[in-house]
């Protein structure tokens, strides 16, 4: 082999190597674009900026809910390097087993990726946070995220405000990727319904980081960053003082109070008893406490005022009185005699015969059975079904038998049957007023939630219309923009038929069944109800509005299994109306004491355990 061949051989080797390298470079740099993506991941760190959640105030501007900083310890598993596990566990005060099992658990979690930040330990204490922050440099891959949790200034209105909690997989899916694992969102109450307003919009910050995850600066001077938009503040229509009083009055009782401002439909108080302290539903123990509350046989999580249907009992007589007039089968001077009842419906002793106003005042069962019969058996209609449908329409127009559309989660429909329901049971045309006569006095196939009761009261107070009840008065200091809450809903009863009924309701307080509810100087109109209850003692029910002219508050009170409407529900409603209208509730000390201290829970124990 001569030298020039050898020289050429070497040259060929050089050129082959160069060629291979160039092909390789072409592949890496031009063909395979994935490295650009890798490079971005290496350098660009997307940081989420959590917006402050909107604050919640009551109608007078008193702060109810605010934010509290919490510190979550997060980790990007991929970036953990040379971790001194012993030291790490010492700072966090956990055992090595816990450390390992936590990591194992994180790995099993849905959506786990070793490139993505994931919460290692939730809500570490402030001393731990401080200790950790000092050593952060030793614990590569770990970092502390500051977020906010809720704090409640008062222990009231848990059912109104609801609570926030971690998003579920479904929420993440539904949100189109907005929420990420570990994010908080409203789970119930106003927090849930107004999640969009309260939650704000998360911001993103792109920072350049080096291989040790140390921030090197903003990416393109923040050109692509988006600022977090803080959540909007919300003013509830709730009156904190009234709410607190309501809850105090219902303590150790099972029941509900709903108070509405008739002029606007704003809910002034929404009490559900038994309740719980909303501060239980924050922090690390949220899950455990929730489970405890869920298991509690007294069902503190159950939002009674908006979901529990009760037979309205005698308060329904007012509505029946209005329907009869509208159907022109009842006139203010129509009188019926009462001989301790009507057919199989009994009645208590009172003067007889009575006209409409008096019948309301003494709550005569026989009278309203007669009225109901004349409505349903109205000869103007060919069939009883048609007449009953009118009855149905009237009741429906007061907001019964359907969800009103309050801005809370889990509103019930109540019970109001259509004519077809009775057709199914009795056969078409084979039933009439007497078949369903107990509905005339608010029993039978009727179920009304306390919210619907209060709403009907508001409709009566307004002489024929109501605004859909709502909890949120202002968002960002502007009136609740939902047009539903500023639209008058007219009932099917003409305004002219109301005065006589209202006079009757006024008599109920002045000299009727609810004299106990009387407040000197305030004209109250109300009606007691004692709803028979197949499961135990009667429910004590009362609804009222005041003052008679220019009503400012309409209220419905239900105290379960406590007897007559005048015994518990009427005094509680009276005290609350006094509070709202005068700002005082202690003018009748004995009554107040009796209501506050009344403990009805023991009586229900047996019933409660039976239902359990």
């Amino acid at each position: 082999m001569n030298s020039s061949v050898k020289q050429k051989t070497l040259l060929i080797i050089f050129i082959s190597v160069a060629f291979i390298y160039i092909v390789r470079l072409f592949y890496l740099q031009v063909v395979d674009t994935s490295y650009v993506f890798f490079a971005q991941n290496n350098v660009l760190q997307e940081q989420t900026i959590y917006p402050a959640r909107g604050l919640i105030y009551d109608r007078k501007g008193e702060l109810l809910v605010y934010n509290d900083a919490i510190y979550d310890l997060s980790v990007i598993p991929d970036q953990v390097r040379n971790l001194d596990t012993t030291e790490f566990c010492k700072v966090l005060n956990i055992s090595k087993e816990e450390f390992l099992s936590t990591f194992a658990r994180l790995k099993r979690q849905k959506g786990y990726s070793k490139w993505k930040p994931i919460v290692f330990q939730r809500q570490i204490t402030i001393p731990t946070y401080a200790a950790f922050q000092e050593k952060l440099f030793d614990f590569q891959g770990f970092f502390v995220e500051v977020r906010t949790d809720r704090k409640y200034k008062h222990s009231n209105a848990a059912h109104v405000m609801g609570y926030i909690g971690e998003v579920t997989d479904r929420d993440i899916e539904k949100s189109d990727g907005y929420y990420r694992m570990g994010d908080f969102m409203g789970i119930s109450g106003v927090e849930r319904i107004y999640e969009k307003e309260l939650g704000g919009i998360k911001g993103t910050r792109y920072v350049l980081v080096d291989s040790k995850n140390r921030t090197q600066g903003r990416y393109k001077n923040g050109e692509f960053d988006t600022a977090a938009i803080a959540g909007k503040d919300i003013h509830l229509s709730i009156d904190q003082e009234l709410q607190a009083l309501g809850e105090a009055l219902l303590q150790n009782k099972t029941g509900s109070v709903v108070a509405i401002e008739p002029r606007t439909g704003e809910v002034l108080a929404l009490v559900s008893s038994p309740s719980y302290d909303p501060n239980l539903m924050v922090g690390r123990e949220r899950g455990n406490r929730y489970m405890e509350l869920l298991k509690d046989p007294s069902k503190p999580l159950f939002n009674r005022p908006i979901s529990a249907p009760y037979p309205p009992g005698s308060i329904f007589k007012v509505i029946v009185g209005l329907m009869g007039q509208q159907e022109k089968v009842l006139f203010p001077n129509t009188s019926y005699g009462c001989n301790h009842g009507y057919l199989f419906v009994g009645c208590h002793p009172h003067g007889s015969p009575l006209a409409l106003r008096g019948a309301i005042a003494v709550s005569c069962n026989a009278y309203f059975c007669q009225v109901y019969r004349s409505i349903v058996n109205n000869p103007r209609y060919k069939h009883v079904e048609d007449a009953y449908t009118e009855f149905y329409k009237h009741a429906y127009s007061f907001g019964m038998g359907h969800a009103l559309g309050i801005d809370l989660f889990g509103e019930g429909q109540g019970v109001l049957k259509k004519a077809t329901y009775f057709d199914k049971i009795y056969g078409r045309h084979r039933w009439q007023a007497l078949t369903t006569i107990s509905m005339g006095i608010g029993q039978g196939e009727l179920g009304i939630t306390p919210l619907q009761m209060a709403n009907a009261t508001a409709a009566i107070a307004n002489r024929g219309y109501f605004y859909t009840p709502h909890i949120v008065k202002k968002i960002n200091n502007r009136a609740n923009p939902n047009p539903k809450y500023t639209t008058k809903n007219w009932t099917t009863i003409d305004t002219g038929y109301f005065p006589v009924v209202i006079e009757g309701m006024h008599d109920v307080i002045e000299n009727g069944t609810a004299r106990i509810a009387k407040i000197p100087g305030i004209e109250i109109c109300g009606k007691t109800g004692t709803a028979q209850n197949p499961h135990g003692k009667d429910h004590s029910i009362f609804f009222a509005f005041a003052p008679k002219n220019n009503p400012k508050i309409a209220i419905a009170v239900v105290v379960e299994n406590s007897g007559f409407g005048a015994t518990w529900a009427a005094p509680i409603a009276s005290l609350m109306m006094e509070q709202y209208l005068t700002g005082k509730h202690d003018t009748r000390k004995a009554l107040l004491e009796r209501m506050l201290n009344g403990n009805l829970t023991h009586r229900n124990d047996s019933a409660r355990f039976k239902t359990k």
């Binding site: 030298s3 020289q7 050089f14 160069a18 390298y21 470079l25 890496l28 740099q29 994935s34 291989s211």
Partner: protein, 424 residues
């Protein structure tokens, strides 16, 4: 010592221009790899690039000195230089400073140098001197072959003892020199086959390789005209290969340390360990790959700047070129480098003196080996062997030693006309 008749005009200006081009590219890359917006001063000697600039100055000065020395000096002092470098290597072995696991550094005050770098041109000079001796014929004389091998192996072994695998392997590049001087081509080919077999041995079980080789041998013998000699050679080759494959497997499993095994496994793609042993390579590939066709622009590289690539201003300097200047820049760079090697090859071949030619080939081989391993490593197709990219990588003693290596050859080449004159 300074030769009055030396003709600087005979200096190969193309090589000199290429040298300075590469050195400046190197400086810019070092600058880019540690560049901070807060401290853009390239003259800052507390930073790598400032120091590199000083080293360029020192190298230029020494280079100039070399050009001014009589070329006979190198022939005359080839052995002493070789001896000194071997002594220095031994000294390091005894009193060296350990840097990153290899005790190959000598520290004199703040000055730190790696004698292995100087052993390269020392060995080149000694080999050239020996083979250019009177009546020395490499092709025919076994003794010459053994002594040549000895000249190369002596520093190799000492450097290996210093735990400097990279520099040790550089000495294998002398095989090209020996090939030029008469080493049969089949040895070069056999060496290539051995490397392939060694890699295969690590990838698949030796049993399969032996079965495969046997089948191949049987097929070969079936199709060719069989002579007893051919059969014997074939069978012998298969047995030898089988033994080698088995022993490689044994060494790999039982002799090598775990971290060495991991490195090899990652390179062979048997283990995917992006953040462990493969981290450097993965990051390097990301940096180069993200450069795209045109690159991100000078000082715009994000991967390099934020130190995702370890050892970036030294061993992984090519990443900066790949990321900031893209495929086009890399293409130009590789083209120029190969052009330099080609130029040196041409120069070596045009020498009339054997000494000059052998030395020239040594320079080409050493530079080529560095280039192949270093760039190949950043591209993920060569093992991660920590050797610098000549003229580009940060590092004073490396730059100086490569400059000396190259400039001696430039000096030798510059004299070729004089030789012509003298002889005619």
């Amino acid at each position: 010592m300074i030769a009055p008749d030396s003709k600087p005009s005979r200096i190969d200006w193309i090589t000199l221009v290429l040298y300075y081009f590469l050195v400046i590219v190197g400086l810019l890359c070092v600058y880019a790899s540690v560049y901070k917006e807060t401290n853009p001063n390239i003259w800052d000697t507390s930073e790598n690039y400032g120091r590199q600039l000083i080293w360029i100055g020192i190298s230029s000065f020494i280079g100039l000195m070399i050009l001014l020395i009589d070329e006979k000096f190198f022939f005359a002092f080839a052995y002493p230089i070789y001896g000194i470098s071997v002594l220095l290597l031994l000294a390091v072995l005894v009193a060296g400073t350990t840097v990153k696991g290899s005790s190959s550094w000598i520290e004199i005050g703040s000055f730190r140098m790696q004698p292995a770098e100087f052993a390269k041109f020392g060995s080149a000079l000694a080999l050239a001197r020996y083979l250019s001796g009177y009546n020395v014929q490499y092709e025919k004389d076994k003794k010459v072959q053994l002594i040549s091998a000895g000249i190369i192996l002596l520093p190799m072994i000492i450097i290996l003892l210093q735990n400097e695998t990279g520099s040790t392997l550089v000495f294998t590049s002398f095989i090209f020199v020996l090939y030029r001087e008469g080493l049969p081509g089949w040895i070069l080919f056999a060496g290539f086959v051995l490397v392939v077999l060694a890699v295969l041995a690590l990838l698949v079980s030796p049993v399969y390789i032996i079965i495969g080789l046997t089948l191949l041998a049987a097929l070969f013998l079936y199709f060719v005209r069989r002579t007893n000699q051919l059969i014997l050679i074939t069978v012998g080759a298969v047995i030898l290969a089988g033994l080698m494959v088995s022993s490689i497997d044994y060494v790999f499993e039982n002799v090598m340390q775990p971290h060495q095994r991991t490195r090899i496994n990652v390179l062979l793609g048997k283990e995917v360990d992006i953040k462990g042993a493969g981290y450097n390579v993965q990051q390097s590939k990301i940096a180069i790959g993200s450069g795209g066709l045109w690159g991100k622009g000078f000082l715009q590289g994000t991967q390099n700047k934020f130190r995702f690539v370890p050892e970036q201003s030294t061993d992984f300097i090519f990443c900066t070129i790949g990321e900031e200047f893209g495929f086009v820049g890399s293409l130009i760079f590789i083209g120029l480098y190969i052009f330099l090697l080609y130029r040196l090859l041409m120069m070596a071949e045009r020498q009339r003196q054997k000494f000059n030619r052998i030395y020239g080939y040594s320079v080409v081989s050493i530079l080529f080996f560095h280039f192949v391993i270093n760039v190949g490593m950043t591209l993920g197709i060569m093992p991660v062997i920590g050797i610098p990219l000549p003229f580009i990588s940060y590092g004073g003693s490396a730059l100086l030693s490569f400059t000396i290596l190259l400039f001696i050859f430039i000096r030798l080449d510059a004299n070729r006309v004089n030789e012509l004159r003298n002889f005619s």
